[in-house]
Symmetry: C2
Subunit: 277 residues, 2 copies
C-alpha cells in the first residue's frame, strides 16, 4: 500500500483533511492535569480520544517533547500508542543533515518512533533528503514555504526567475517525484503561493499546510488555494487550546468539528476526493 | 564570561583548535565493546578519556543518539557527563523551527542537555533563530556552507550578486552580530569560500568547520583559509575510527595528536592566538 493509498483509506473513514497538531506546551495544560505524573501525555490522550474519529492525522512537533526531557519523550511514546491504527502520525522534526547522519535521523523517526510521515529541511541539498525515501511507504514533507513571518527572508530570494522555495520544489520533484512519498510544507499564511504550488505539483502530491488559526492563516482561502488536492491541514492551538477548563477535550472536539466543516466546503458530497482533482 | 572568553580559557589549556566529533555509529564500534550494556557510551567514554586534554571541544551529532532510542539518549547523557568541565560541548542538532517551537528546541539543547553551543538551520529565516541567543553565554552556529557534495544546490544560488549562504551570513551578522554568541558552520571541503567567509566575518566570529578527513577536507588548506580566527575544526571518523581493535582509544589519541599538530602550523609559538588575527 503506498502512502497515498494509506491516506485514502483513512479519508474514507474520517472524511476530512484535518490534521490535529499535538504541539503541547506545558504552559497551557489545564490546571486539573498539572498534578498528573505526565501532564503532556494525559493532555494528549484526552485530545486524541476526543478527535481521532474526525481527523486524518496527528502532527507531533518534536521540540515540545524534547524540551521536557525524558518525561517528554515518554509523553511522545505514549501519544504514538494512543493514536488509533490507520490514523497517520506525522513527526514534525524538520531534520536536515548529511548522508549517513540523515540516515540515522530517518531511522530514529521511522523505525524508533514509528512515524508514518516526517518533515525535513532542504537547506543542505536534495542529497541530504534521499535516505528518508528508503523507509517504506511513508511520506517525506520537504519544507518549501513556511508559515512564519520571516519565511520570506531566504525562501523568497529570486534566482534564475524563481524564488528559492520553488527551486526546492522543482529539484525535489525531479529527484523524488516518482516515489509516491514526496510532499511539501506550505504555510496557510501564504494563500496565493499555496495556490501556485498546488498547480505546480498537481493534485496528488500531499501538502502539509500549517498556519491556520493562531498564526493567522484562513481556512476558506486555504481550501480554495488547495483546490481539492491531497492535503493535511494542520491546526494546533486552535483545537488544543479551545478550552482551558476540565471540559478542554469536549471544547477541542467542538473546535475540531468546526474546522472539519470549514475544510470540506466545496468538496463533492461534502467529502474529500483527493484523487479526482 | 562570554562564549569567546570561555573558548580562550579552554584554549589556554588545550592549545588547539581541534574539535573531536562523537558521531558514534554502532556499526563501527570495536567488537570487544559490543557486549557492553551501552556500547556507544562505553566507546565515547574511552575516546573522551584519551583525548580531552588535547582538544577544545566535542561535537555530538544528535542523530547518532536518537537512532539508538532510549539507550542512545542515555549514551548522550553519559557522554556529556564524561566530558571534563571547561571543555566545550557542541550539540550538532541543526534544528530550525518557528518562534515558540524554536524556543522549545533551544530549551531542550541548552537547559535539558546542557550544551555550550549548538548548530541551527537558517532556512526558515532569522526570526526562527533569535531565541537561541537568550540562553546564556552559549554559541549558536548557523549553517552557512555545509560540507556535503549537494551543499551547492541551494546554498550557492546567487541573488542580488551573492549566493544564498552569504545572504545567510550577512543577515545573521546584522541581526545577531553584536551578541558575541554568533558563529557559522562552513565546511572544510570549500577552502576558497572558507577563506572568503573568514575575511567577511573577521577573526573573532567562531567558525565550526566540519569535513576534514573522511569527507575530503584538507587540514593545511583549512588552517590557511581560517587565517588564525576563532575556529572549531571538527574531525569525527578520522579520530574515532583510527583504530578498530582493543587499542582503539590509543589509536584515536595518536590520530588526534596528528591533527593537533597540523592545525597549529603557522600559529605563533605553535599555539593558537584567536584574538590576534
Amino acid at each position: 500500500m503506498t502512502f497515498n493509498e494509506r491516506y485514502s483509506t483513512i479519508l474514507e473513514k474520517s472524511r476530512t483533511r484535518l490534521c490535529v497538531g499535538l504541539d503541547t506546551d506545558p504552559a497551557w495544560i489545564p490546571e486539573h492535569l498539572k498534578g498528573e505524573t505526565n501532564p503532556i501525555l494525559a493532555f494528549n490522550r484526552a485530545i486524541v480520544e476526543a478527535t481521532s474519529d474526525i481527523c486524518s492525522s496527528y502532527k507531533m512537533n518534536l521540540a515540545f517533547y524534547e524540551s521536557d526531557g525524558k518525561r517528554g519523550l515518554e509523553a511522545l511514546e505514549g501519544t504514538m500508542d494512543a493514536i488509533p491504527e490507520g490514523v497517520i502520525r506525522i513527526g514534525d522534526a524538520k531534520r536536515g543533515d548529511i548522508g549517513n547522519t540523515a540516515n540515522h535521523y530517518a531511522k530514529a523517526l521511522f523505525d524508533v518512533w514509528g512515524f508514518d510521515a516526517v518533515t525535513v529541511n532542504p537547506y543542505m541539498g536534495t542529497d541530504t533528503i534521499e535516505t528518508y525515501f528508503q523507509f517504506g511507504a511513508n511520506c517525506v514533507f520537504v519544507l518549501a514555504l513556511t508559515s512564519n513571518p520571516g519565511s520570506k527572508q531566504f525562501q523568497h530570494l529570486v534566482t534564475q526567475g524563481k524564488p528559492l522555495y520553488v527551486h526546492v520544489i522543482d529539484q525535489c520533484l525531479e529527484a523524488f517525484g516518482d516515489a509516491d512519498q514526496l510532499g511539501f510544507v506550505v504555510g496557510a499564511t501564504h494563500p496565493n503561493e499555496l495556490g501556485e504550488v498546488r498547480r505546480r505539483v498537481g493534485g496528488n502530491i500531499p501538502l502539509l499546510i500549517p498556519g491556520i488559526g493562531a498564526q493567522g492563516g484562513d481556512t476558506q482561502g486555504t481550501v480554495h488555494a488547495n483546490n481539492g488536492g491531497v492535503a493535511f491541514v494542520n491546526v494546533s492551538r486552535g483545537i488544543s487550546k479551545a478550552g482551558s477548563g476540565e471540559d478542554f477535550a469536549e471544547q477541542a472536539r467542538e473546535a475540531a468539528l468546526k474546522f472539519v466543516a470549514e475544510l470540506s466546503v466545496g468538496d463533492p458530497d461534502e467529502r474529500v476526493a483527493p484523487d479526482q482533482s
